[in-house]
């Protein structure tokens, strides 16, 4: 039933009961997926709000553009690979190929961990170049945005590590399938977010 139809129905009118015992749900999805999508929207709101302040602050007259470290391109690559690995892992999981799903899943985490390390190096480079968090608004936003993104990546890695342990152990593929799927969606989200951030940070 469409949302509009549902909202405009007259609930006091008698409706013959339907067959079966299934619960009522608004979306044909596992609740974890609904919750994750909702969370991604919330995270999206956080980043959009920082984004808006970024563009407002950009116009306030004391902006000194940052030259973006080349390392960021490498880091972007790491995140892309991480995301691709997860997608392969997910597809393997659906094809019931446990070994492939496991190896690609582990690999994606390692690449993402490398991304975290890479971002850390970028911060070191900037600080070494005399661009601290309080040097100018551009550097402040750089640290803030990359930092916020990193927190989200680390949160993802925490969930990833729990699943990874289960995969390394004897867990049945069927029981971790959902986790792999969730990680995959979240990683794609992190990647898209990063690309948008990168574009915004590079384009000043």
């Amino acid at each position: 039933m469409s949302i509009y139809k549902e909202l405009s129905s007259k609930p006091w009118e008698y409706r013959a009961p339907t067959e079966g015992t299934a619960l009522e749900s608004a979306f044909d999805l596992a609740p974890e997926k609904v919750a994750l999508r909702l969370f991604m929207v919330v995270a999206g709101v956080i980043f959009s709000l920082v984004g808006v302040t970024y563009y407002v602050r950009l116009d306030l007259g004391d902006w000194v553009p940052l030259s973006d470290p080349g390392l960021l391109w490498w880091n972007t690559g790491l995140l892309v690979v991480g995301s691709v690995c997860l997608q392969i892992s997910r597809n393997a999981a659906f094809a019931d190929n446990r070994a492939k799903a496991r190896s690609m899943f582990i690999l994606s985490g390692l690449f993402s961990a490398a991304f975290v390390t890479g971002q850390w190096f970028v911060w070191q480079q900037l600080t070494a170049a005399g661009l601290g968090v309080n040097t100018n608004p551009a550097s402040a936003f750089f640290f803030l945005l990359t930092g916020l993104h990193l927190v989200h990546v680390l949160g993802g890695l925490w969930v990833w590590s729990k699943t990874a342990f289960r995969l390394l152990g004897k867990a049945d593929l069927a029981t971790v399938k959902l986790s792999i799927e969730l990680c995959t969606s979240y990683w794609h989200f992190l990647l898209v977010l990063w690309v948008l951030l990168f574009a915004a940070l590079a384009n000043t």
Partner: protein, 585 residues
């Protein structure tokens, strides 16, 4: 792939085995609800004491004042922040939301019980961090609950040493807790309703809580972002919100930031926050009114649409808090218009509450009295909102006691009356005992009349132009000495109301031991939570089988039916829709 897990399990995974897992590290939504509600009420009592301290200073500055200027501003700040965020938000969503969503939707628990438990403990942590600011050097922040920079983090404001930092951290932690809870509430409502419980068969309580939670999920990020950025300004020396300014004759190491930017972010959270508190109250009071008027809620569909519309509109009115903030004055046209548009769905809700009583069979018991009291105070508070929303009237009235009176009426007194209505209404389900009616009614009269005695005169202080957030009025050429008489009376009324709350606590604890047994459905209500096999409901709520829903939540006094209510679980068409032409087959 619809949601099935819990219903299919004979024994739930998190079935409690010991006292600790049953009452402390509990994953049962009902226990978590009580933990949430209890914590919120405790911290609310702290805020209540702070308000008494403020009122004593304002009413009797020379004889009964307990506080100095510095602690006055700290009390103002902590009172406001605690009441809005840590009491009302937590109580309505963490408390009532947790208790009622699974019961009203007909499920065994929240879909993520562990996350739900975590949400409470993280919330408790945020409360402890907040309260710890009372014990650090310099005390809690005195920046006002709006925490406007630059003053929030510069030396002329009390608590700029540690208080403001703890406040910002506590808010961040609270938002994490809220997000964990909020994702849970929304997902549960969307994905795990009992068979037959369509969205439009949900009681309005669930609708109010649902939309408020969605608002919270989208609005709290703005507070989170502003808190993080202000923490950067405070601790790392960035200049997001800090322009070049002086302090004690020295130029501070800031440059170029925008204080107004913070205000936009803050109110982008702050205005929806009003509705995060109000919408659950709207929902709960609708159910209380309908049950005790023995009549269906009038205009259910428009009530739902109004909740959704108000929720949506609440995101495009925020700058009406900033008419005199120095933002581009042309924004005033837009925000005054959107703000007054909100009045229409809100007014419709009021009409429908009153029309629910019309041609009802009204039982004037304690919850009903509180609900009717709410309609009165909400009409009052809503109408004064039309003053402040109209940009030009805001010029003389903003930052005066008119604002204080308005928002206390509309989001202090009104929601609190609903909280009491709801507690008296659902207490029998929570504990299995009835509350004492005599004490309850006494509590109602003291609270209702007392709060009106506080806030009606306060509007007139505002008309006079008495500024808010003043430790002392001092001497002016426009405030007559009689204003002090008004202040004294307001203080007396405030202390009276504060003391009257003791009646409530006596009632809660007395009834727990000695209240009359309530039975499963003492009010003759239709909604699912009153149809549980046990009262109070046991872990898992529904015994062997989940309920199946056959009708909407408001089949009261259906013509031709033997009782004056038909529970949602009762199957069958009783000819109700004969009066209405469109019968689906």
């Amino acid at each position: 792939m619809a949601y099935v897990p819990i219903a299919d399990q004979a024994q739930e995974l998190h079935d409690p085995h010991s006292f600790i897992t049953k009452y402390v590290w509990s994953q049962d939504h009902k226990v978590i609800a009580i933990q949430y509600g209890g914590t919120a009420i405790m911290v609310g009592l702290v805020a209540l004491c702070l308000s008494v301290a403020m009122r004593l200073q304002l009413g009797f500055p020379d004889s009964f004042s307990l506080i100095d200027p510095s602690s006055y501003y700290q009390a103002v700040t902590m009172h406001g922040m605690i009441m809005v965020v840590y009491l009302l938000t937590a109580l309505f969503l963490g408390g009532f939301g947790n208790y009622l969503i699974p019961l009203m939707c007909g499920t065994r628990d929240m879909v993520f019980p562990f996350l739900n438990m975590l949400s409470f403990w993280v919330y408790l942590l945020s409360v402890l961090i907040l309260l710890s600011s009372f014990f650090v050097t310099g005390g809690p922040t005195g920046a006002g609950w709006t925490l406007y920079p630059p003053q929030a983090i510069t030396g002329g404001t009390p608590g700029s040493d540690g208080g403001i930092f703890l406040m910002l951290v506590s808010l961040g932690v609270f938002i994490i807790a809220f997000t964990m809870g909020g994702l849970n509430y929304v997902t549960t409502i969307f994905q795990a309703r009992a068979k037959g419980m369509t969205m439009m068969r949900l009681p309005l309580s669930v609708w109010g809580i649902l939309v408020a939670t969605v608002l919270g999920l989208f609005a709290f990020p703005a507070l989170l972002v502003s808190a993080i950025m202000m923490t950067f300004d405070l601790k790392l020396g960035t200049s997001f919100f800090m322009p070049a300014i002086m302090a004690a004759g020295e130029q501070l190491d800031y440059n170029g930031g925008s204080p107004i930017l913070f205000q936009h972010l803050f109110w982008f959270f702050g205005h929806p926050e009003v509705y995060i508190v109000a919408l659950p109250a709207f929902g709960l009071v609708s159910d209380v009114l309908s049950t005790h008027a023995r009549k269906n809620i009038f205009g259910y569909r428009m009530m739902v649409w109004a909740i959704v519309a108000i929720g949506g509109l609440s995101f495009i009115v925020w700058a009406h808090h900033m008419y005199v903030s120095g933002m581009n004055p042309y924004f005033g046209f837009f925000f005054a218009t959107t703000t007054l548009i909100i009045a229409v769905p809100t007014a419709l809700k009021v009409y429908n509450w009153v029309l629910t009583l019309w041609e009802g069979d009204i039982r004037l018991n304690t919850p009903m009295l509180f609900a009717i009291g709410f309609i009165f105070t909400f009409i009052h508070g809503g109408l004064t909102g039309l003053f402040l929303g109209n940009v030009v009237i805001d010029l003389p009235l903003s930052d005066t006691y008119f604002v204080v009176a308005h928002f206390h009426m509309v989001m202090g007194v009104s929601p609190v009356l609903v909280v009491f209505a709801a507690l008296y209404h659902w207490y029998p389900k929570i504990t299995g005992k009835m509350m004492n009616e005599t004490l309850g009614k006494l509590h109602f009269w003291c609270t209702f009349l007392g709060t009106y005695a506080i806030y009606l005169p306060m509007h007139y202080l505002g008309f006079l132009g008495v500024p808010r957030r003043y430790y002392a009025i001092g001497s002016t050429d426009f405030i007559p000495a009689s204003a002090q008489t008004l202040n004294e009376n307001i203080t007396i009324a405030a202390i009276f109301v504060a003391l009257a709350q003791i009646l409530f606590f006596i009632n809660v604890f007395w009834s727990l031991r000695s209240g009359k047994p309530a039975g499963g459905n003492p009010w003759g209500a239709t909604t699912l939570e009153w149809q549980t096999p046990d009262t109070p409901p046991k872990h898992g709520n529904w015994g062997e089988k989940l309920p199946v829903v056959h009708r909407w939540a408001y089949d009261y006094s259906v013509p031709g039916y033997k009782d004056d209510f038909i529970p949602q679980t009762v199957a069958g068409d009783f000819g109700v829709s004969d009066d209405h032409d469109s019968k689906e087959s």
